[in-house]
């Protein structure tokens, strides 16, 4: 029997992603929920890799798994949250949750129904040779055709960073910052006084 390995790995990663996503919601422990979210990201990166988008897959791991989720984990670990009050409203919010889920599923179905699948040329998408570099293609697209949207997105992120700093900055009062230059410039003579000759009536003598 001939096995379609691409499909096999797709279903493996898809199942892993779904399992991880489900466990994020159902984990009792918030740290475990974050770790399952990490698993979901890794599985999604695997799916993107199967689509030959190796740059996006690796960036997903590098940025989300390697940095964002570590900071998440950092915060969640220190908060030591008690999840039981959060679980209490489960039944009360269930109708709203079902409504949102139904809307999303309806949207997906609508898009799927109204798309001419044959016109997408799905067979042709996966026809690139092994040495094809989609990083070069992505870079060319970002820095030529989409230069302005790309730069604007960067500026928006910068504004967000400055806003976050401005919100948490409490002004110069009550700050005890160190002057590193002074610390580095300190010499032995500034801190240490060597008393060579201890006289007979000195209180330094034991």
């Amino acid at each position: 029997m001939e096995i379609d390995w691409l499909k096999f790995f797709f279903y493996c990663y898809a199942a892993l992603a779904l399992f991880g996503a489900t466990m994020v919601i159902f984990s009792r422990n918030s740290v475990r929920a974050v770790l399952f979210l990490v698993l979901t990201f890794v599985a999604s990166a695997g799916l993107w890799m199967l689509l030959q988008a190796e740059f996006l897959a690796l960036i997903l791991i590098l940025v989300y798994v390697g940095a964002v989720m570590v900071l998440f984990l950092f915060v969640v670990m220190m908060l030591n949250m008690n999840l039981s009050p959060l679980k209490e409203g489960f039944v009360r919010y269930l109708p709203l949750g079902i409504l949102i889920a139904a809307t999303i599923v309806a949207q997906l179905v609508w898009v799927y129904k109204n798309t001419d699948m044959a016109a997408l040329h799905l067979g042709e998408l996966a026809q690139k040779p092994a040495d094809y570099s989609n990083i070069t293609e992505l870079g060319l697209a970002l820095y030529t055709d989409y230069l302005y949207p790309f730069e604007i997105a960067g500026v928006i992120l910068l504004v967000a960073i400055i806003a976050a700093i401005a919100l948490t900055f409490r002004g110069p009062q009550n700050r005890r910052s160190q002057n590193i230059a002074v610390q580095v410039a300190t010499r032995k003579d500034d801190r240490l006084r060597v008393i060579k000759d201890v006289g007979p009536d000195s209180d330094l003598k034991a």
Binding site: I3, L58, I61, L73, M78
Partner: protein, 342 residues
Amino acid sequence: MDLELIKTIGWILVKIVAIIVPVILTIVYLMYFERKVIGFMQARVGPNRVGYRGLLQPWADGIKLLFKEVLVPSSSNKYLFIVAPMITMAAAMAAWAVVPFGTGLVLANINAGVLYILAVMSLGVYGVIIAGWASNSKYAFLGALRCSAQMISYEIAMGFALVGVLMAAGSLNLTEIVMAQQGGFWHWYWIPLLPLFVVHWVSSVAETNRAPFDIAEGESEIVAGFHVEYSGMAFAVFFLAEYANMILLALLAAIFYMGGWLSPFEGIPYLGQWFAFVPGPIWLILKTCLFLFLYLWFRATFPRFRYDQVMRLGWKVYIPVTLVWIVVVALLVQFKIGPWFS
């Protein structure tokens, strides 16, 4: 299942073993040399009892750790406690898949090699965080927090330093980065990218949590940091992963800035011809050993940084330096300046 597929998988497995076994042997003797080198630097002799001049000492240590009991603290998260060292080790080993040892001597010659290595190394931090949290110990937790903050900070500086390298080489493929440095000692990237080279190397030391950046272990402050509750083989796995990362980062520094497996005498009259017979991997090993020696040297000579000093160095010194030098590299490449980019 056809025979061709089994053959391919079998051949890949052989290659993996051919990489992993020398790496493990190097780890084992790196431990021995670390103790010897630091011993000599501190006017001691180091291990000299087990075997000739103590050469069997790492094996004795390994066997001892294998037979010790792996204690699992009763109030720990048992599953994560066991998984944490495995994650660290898996990340440390997976990165070796894309490392080239010579022209064509590579397991997976992928286009996004640099990104792959950065991505896999960033996974290693999970082992440390999970270990610190699952141990349910304050010292371990403090060590994990320090470690994650430090590794994220220095990953940014290292990433920016690598941006300079890939701009200079015009590729993310490790083999092509080495090939772009052809032409002997003065054509390697350590000259045009000198500030990035320094930032990258110091970040490498910080990424592996080695002295003077070993605040995650900091035995004078938090006992043993994130692995304080680990014993026996579980501790040994953390230890092995740390040394595997050291070797990997030393090798990467040689590849990115020191011409990889290229001969330093290339293009120099007489010397170039005399040393032409030396195979490329030998040069790579020699360069890697140089960087590994630097690791040991740093540990024997520098006192440990304070936590705030580590953070300041990463965020306020190294990241601005790399940002400035990336612009300089862009200008160098754009206007084809020097012997490097002409």
